[in-house]
């Protein structure tokens, strides 16, 4: 039986269909759940093995990216996401979903860390290379051996944390993905994605869901192999299947 992924979307979320395609290709079934539906039926997430907070511009980034999305999720679900994680089930937040998870305090708790405006002050869309950290506890990335090529598309993706927080993230194996080569936003330590202490919850700025077919690679006509974003979703789906 295929694991079910519930993809949470707020007004302004716009990569829910992209991430749904990635999960389907990776072997999951998907349902997009919009906030209004979630409010009417909060129990809907109880039937999902995988919880996904999709990317986009929820509430047009008003008063800060992901903030209103996080407020509404907290209001509707209470500690529902923590409950999901306590059941050993994985969660992923991509881009705006990462921003919302940060606001919810799920990834680094109350430690001082956040996703600030890019160092350039600009929205940036370009392809980056990501190295999965083999020593991370993250169930989404710890089995990955190949680098991932995929685009970023964000204005507020600069991961910032103080030295104490960083040291603890490192010590706990919570740094899941790092930019190699171009660091598109000025993130400290080239951090592209982090997980919670359990390793079940991953937040990342880049969009591996936009590189699930070889032809999506910008240099495929130069013979560079592609589709490397898919492995991350397969890892999550396989994990959910095994538990």
């Amino acid at each position: 039986m295929k694991p079910a992924a519930a993809i949470l979307a707020a007004p302004g979320t716009n990569r829910h269909n992209d991430v749904a395609a990635a999960f389907q290709l990776a072997g999951a079934t998907t349902t997009v759940v919009h906030l209004a539906e979630l409010r009417a039926q909060p129990a809907i997430i109880g039937t999902a093995q995988i919880l996904v907070v999709a990317g986009g511009f929820s509430f047009a980034d008003a008063t800060g990216s992901g903030r209103l999305f996080a407020l509404e999720l907290a209001d509707i679900l209470g500690d529902g996401i923590n409950h999901h994680v306590a059941g050993g089930r994985p969660v992923i937040g991509i881009c705006n979903g990462f921003q919302a998870l940060m606001r919810l305090g799920i990834l680094v708790g109350d430690e001082p860390a956040n996703l600030a405006h890019n160092a350039s002050g600009q929205f940036v869309c370009r392809w980056v290379e990501l190295a999965p950290n083999p020593t991370s506890v993250c169930v989404w990335t710890r089995t990955l051996r190949e680098p991932i090529a995929c685009p970023v598309a964000h204005g507020e993706g600069r991961f910032l944390a103080n030295d104490v927080t960083l040291a603890s993230l490192r010590a706990n194996g919570q740094i899941a993905l790092a930019y190699t080569g171009v660091n598109p936003n000025g993130s400290v330590d080239n951090i592209a994605g982090i997980c919670d202490p359990t390793g079940l919850v991953l937040g990342l700025m880049p969009h591996p869901e936009n590189h699930i077919f070889p032809y999506q690679h910008p240099r495929f006509s130069r013979g560079e192999s592609g589709g490397t974003g898919l492995a991350l979703f397969e890892a999550g789906v396989n994990f959910a299947q095994d538990t």
Binding site: G12, N14, A36, F57, T63, L68, L160
Partner: protein, 942 residues
């Protein structure tokens, strides 16, 4: 005896949210210095959020921490000061009625935290360091910090404009007395109401109401003016035409339609009749395409104008039930280095227009989640007072899902944004020339977009389409409900109750509700039995819906306000009553325009670098990276790519959503535009532009037998017979080139009267500007072709034929002259050549391909080298080297192939040289390093 009764005090607080480091601050300061305000030492910006509510200190701190600010990044103050030490305070608030998504979000977020706020308003506070005089402050405010069209600025503390304070409307319509008026009195009424109608049109309206034995209401008059506007009715394109020597010319629209009819391609499903053209793609989906201009709004409010330009063209493809999958934008601005004192009165500086327009395009496309895949940026002195903003959109719809006809008894349903006083009379405004006061009087014509609302509207429409809930759909664009319901009711009739239209705020008179161009609205014809299911969808996506009336079947459009008719028009008159114009044009005499200055190129290498660095030719990678071109996962060939991801591409290749998964077909999207050739020969300019668009898609692998075209004309003041003559010539060139290539037009749009009356009273028209979109089909996306050199030793083949065609060239732009020769036009051998080249690309024999356009062979070769980071060694023969290197003859490509395959190209080209490892481009006497080329192409002159 007078005693004022004190009303309850209204509590207002304002959060001043200040980022600890504002990435925008440095840019603002640099822009201030660019304006010549050198005394400014800093410009710090903070967000003002005004809350109308009684709040305790604790409440405020909860709101600040949880909603308004970021603890790590922002400081919040609740006590603003009116002045600061060693500097100046300028505060800016939105004018009443301007769309404010931030305020709406704050209200919603606060409600979630348990605070019901009476009203929310937002603004900006600027603290400018340095000792500025009042003139500096005034200039800084007007030119940089605020736009008077949508914002109100003041030195010191600003008061917000509350939407809840809107003055209630009278709710009544006025009767406008026109029956029995003398012709000059009738024209006076037209001018007073800014109807933009000519005497014959006003007389037709007068006669119509004489027969009805009554005067029109203001609602009726405004609705007619809007429906009959140049923007909506294309009076010039439909007009009977005649040259000044008496020869008649078929109407412009008839000429373009004749191309499509003559070619009669079975894969064209809908051309010219709906919001967008529709062509077949595969057994699963059709593709819809449309492009629009938003020139006048972008001139006075660049961000909002461009923003809503994108939103509007997206709604056009949604209006044929298609899901948008790709966007284009073609932008024309004045020179970025124009001295501020040379700026005409009332005109924004080209840099500010450019920055605002680009930000507006990026904001809408990125937020709505549709990739911006292709475009162009052109700088020319002709666009200082009248910039051009062309926005294109592509959408997909399942085969057979296109629906067009409302049935009698269907409900008139509006979904999406609420109606406000934004964009009143936009259609008529778009059809007029502008002057120094345009920004003030037409302020209400500008809309501010809300892409998040439109994205939800798209979700509802697509779900409703798949559930077959509606029988017809159209978008609210120019002319608002009047135009949308009016079009859908054509021949059927409809009755609408204005009280049922959801409003943003009170205070709108009936004609304003009916004509408002508030954004993000669609009108659907919905069988009564389906309305509740549609309401359910709207609830899911949090979209407002209102059932405002019925399609009646009596052929009359009736609008009621509180049960009383304020508009009652026969749709036959509304849509068919506008008298056809007869226009006389002056035939252009190309010989008179042939320039004579000598063309001298001292150093071809330096000239090549200058061409690459030219503002209209240089790389726009920095702009493109501000646009999301990856979302939806369909991008195959992107705007830039190659070894270092920075080489130019000829066209976008997109794998559309919903395509047949067993095949690997893709869409190619190319753009042709040239603003320089038209000064000399509009017919050849149009031929060249059509050829360029087709050439671009062929270069990336599209089949030349499956190319559909879209025409967008932005023209000057067509009441000038000479300018009209140029338009006729251009349409002739468009038709001839499209017929020759076998590529039908499926949609088009014209924006006329792009002229500015300068302070001396002289009308300045823009350069004749034609944009052609070519929509092609790439049979196998794995064989899509790119411009980057790939392999050392590959043979470089020149395809096509070079003539002495340097008139209007970019070489002349760089040299600052108008030299002799011919204007590039159509090469009659090109159609056959493109088919031969396509066969070779499809068979996999082409390793790289790039079309030759601005800057000719030299620039194309340089761009291929930049893209592949490999060198080239090319022999251009013994002809005139300036012509060989820089001529802009059409129909040409540079391709590379493996040495063994070079013989296959003998029919269409000749080998010029090879790809080299050595990072040098050597063509004739030119020898330049790739580093130097890359540097120049990034816009650096030396």
């Amino acid at each position: 005896m007078s005693r004022t009764v004190e009303s309850m005090p209204i509590a207002v607080v304002c959060a001043d949210v200040r980022p600890r480091t504002d990435p925008a601050a440095a840019g603002l300061l640099a822009a201030a210095h660019q304006l010549g305000i050198t005394m400014a030492t800093s410009v710090n910006r903070s967000r003002l959020i005004f809350l109308r509510c009684v709040l305790t200190d604790d409440d405020r701190s909860v709101l600040a921490r949880r909603l308004l600010a970021d603890e790590l990044c922002d400081d919040v103050s609740w006590d603003r000061t009116e002045a600061i030490q060693g500097g100046h305070v300028i505060e800016v608030v939105l004018r009443a009625g301007v769309t404010d998504p931030l305020a709406a979000a704050v209200r919603r977020g606060a409600l979630g935290l348990g605070y019901g706020l009476d009203d929310v308003a937002t603004g900006w506070r600027f603290e400018v360091g340095g000792n500025l005089d009042s003139d500096d402050i005034d200039r800084l405010t007007r030119r940089l910090l605020a736009n008077d069209v949508v914002e109100r600025a003041c030195v010191g503390l600003a008061e917000p404009q509350w939407t809840t304070d809107a003055v209630p409307a009278s709710g009544e319509c006025q009767t406008v007395a026109i029956v029995g008026l003398a012709p000059d009195e009738l024209m006076a009424v037209g001018r007073e109401r800014r109807l933009s109608l000519d005497p014959a049109e006003l007389t037709a309206i007068q006669k119509h109401f004489e027969a009805l034995e009554r005067d029109p209401t203001d609602v009726e008059l405004e609705a007619l003016a809007q429906t009959w506007s140049e923007h909506c009715n294309h009076k010039t394109f439909r007009a009977a035409l005649r040259w000044d020597d008496g020869q008649t010319v078929p109407s412009l629209l008839a000429q373009l339609r004749a191309v499509t009819d003559t070619l009669n391609k079975p894969w064209v499903h809908s051309a010219f009749v709906d919001n967008a053209g529709i062509v077949a793609f595969d057994d699963y989906i059709d593709v819809a395409i449309k492009a629009e201009t938003h020139n006048h709004p972008s001139a006075i409010e660049p961000f909002g104008g461009a923003n809503t330009g994108v939103g509007g063209v997206i709604r056009d493809v949604v209006g044929v039930s298609a899901q948008p999958i790709a966007l284009t934008d073609i932008l024309c601005f004045g020179p970025g280095d124009l001295p501020v004192d040379e700026l005409p009165a009332g005109v924004l500086h080209p840099t500010r227009i450019r920055d605002g327009v680009i930000a507006g395009v990026a904001d809408y496309g990125n937020k709505i989640g549709v990739p911006t895949v292709s475009g162009a940026i052109i700088h020319d002195p002709g666009f200082v007072a009248n910039p051009l903003v062309f926005c294109g959109a592509i959408g997909v719809l399942p085969v057979g899902s296109y629906r067009t006809g409302a049935n009698v008894g269907d409900r008139v349903v509006v979904i999406g944004g609420r109606t406000g006083r934004d964009g009143i009379r936009g259609a008529t405004f778009s059809s007029m020339a502008m002057d120094a006061t345009t920004g003030e009087v037409a302020g209400a014509s500008v809309q501010i977009g809300d892409p998040v609302v439109e994205q939800a509207v798209i979700e509802v429409v697509i779900a409703a389409r798949d559930a077959e809930l509606y029988t017809a759909i159209t978008d609210c664009g120019a002319g608002g409900l009047s135009s949308a319901v009016g079009e859908m009711a054509d021949g059927v009739g409809a009755r609408v109750e204005l009280d049922l239209v959801p409003l943003k705020y009170a205070g709108l008179e009936p004609w304003e509700v009916w004509l408002s161009e508030a954004q993000e609205r669609m009108v659907l014809a919905v069988p009564a039995a389906n309305v509740s299911e549609l309401e359910g969808l709207c609830q899911r996506f949090e979209v407002d819906i209102a059932d405002i009336g019925e399609f009646t079947g009596d052929g009359h459009l009736v609008v009621d306000k509180s049960g009383t008719s304020v508009l009652d028009l026969d749709t036959a008159f509304l849509h068919g009553g506008c008298p056809r114009r007869t226009l006389v044009a002056t035939r252009p005499t190309p010989a008179a325009a042939v320039p004579t200055a000598a063309r001298v190129v001292d150093d071809s290498a330096t000239t090549l670098l200058a061409l690459l660095a030219h503002p209209s030719m240089r790389s726009n990678l920095d702009v493109v990276r501000g646009y999301d071109h990856e979302i939806l996962g369909g991008s195959v060939v992107r705007p830039y790519g190659g070894a270092a991801d920075d080489g130019p591409r000829d066209a976008a290749v997109v794998r559309p959503l919903g395509a047949d998964p067993s095949k690997s077909q893709a869409i190619a999207l190319g753009i042709g535009v040239n603003v320089r050739y038209g000064r000399f020969d509009c017919r050849r300019m149009a031929e060249a532009v059509v050829d360029e668009a087709i050439r671009n898609v062929v270069a990336v692998g599209a089949d030349p037998d499956r190319v559909a075209l879209l025409d967008n004309f932005s023209w000057g003041d067509v009441s000038d017979p000479a300018i009209l003559g140029q338009l006729i010539e251009a349409v002739g060139g468009c038709s001839a080139a499209a017929l020759a290539h076998g590529a039908p037009y499926v949609s088009g749009k014209d924006s006329l009267n792009n002229a500015f009356v300068d302070s001396n009273g002289v009308r300045q028209s823009i350069p004749p500007t034609l944009v052609i979109h070519a929509l092609g089909v790439v049979p196998d996306l794995m064989r899509s072709c790119t411009s980057d050199l790939k392999q050392v030793g590959d043979v470089v083949v020149f395809v096509g034929s070079t003539q002495d065609e340097l008139v209007g060239s970019h070489l002349d732009a760089v040299l600052g002259i108008d030299g002799p020769g011919g204007v590039p036009g159509l090469d009659p051998d090109a159609p056959h050549r493109y088919r031969s080249l396509h066969r070779l690309i499809s068979q996999g024999y082409v390793t790289a391909c790039h079309d030759l356009s601005e800057g000719g062979l030299a620039v194309a070769a340089a761009e291929m080298a930049i893209a592949g980071r490999l060198g080239l060694e090319l022999d251009v023969g013994k002809g005139d080297e300036v012509v060989e290197l820089f001529s802009e003859s059409t129909g040409r490509f540079l391709v590379t192939c493996r040495p063994d395959d070079a013989h296959r190209f003998a029919e269409i080209g000749r080998p010029l040289g090879v790809v080299t490892l050595e990072p040098l481009v050597r063509i004739g006497s030119v020898s330049v390093t790739i580093d130097a080329l890359v540097h120049a192409w990034a816009g650096h002159i030396s």
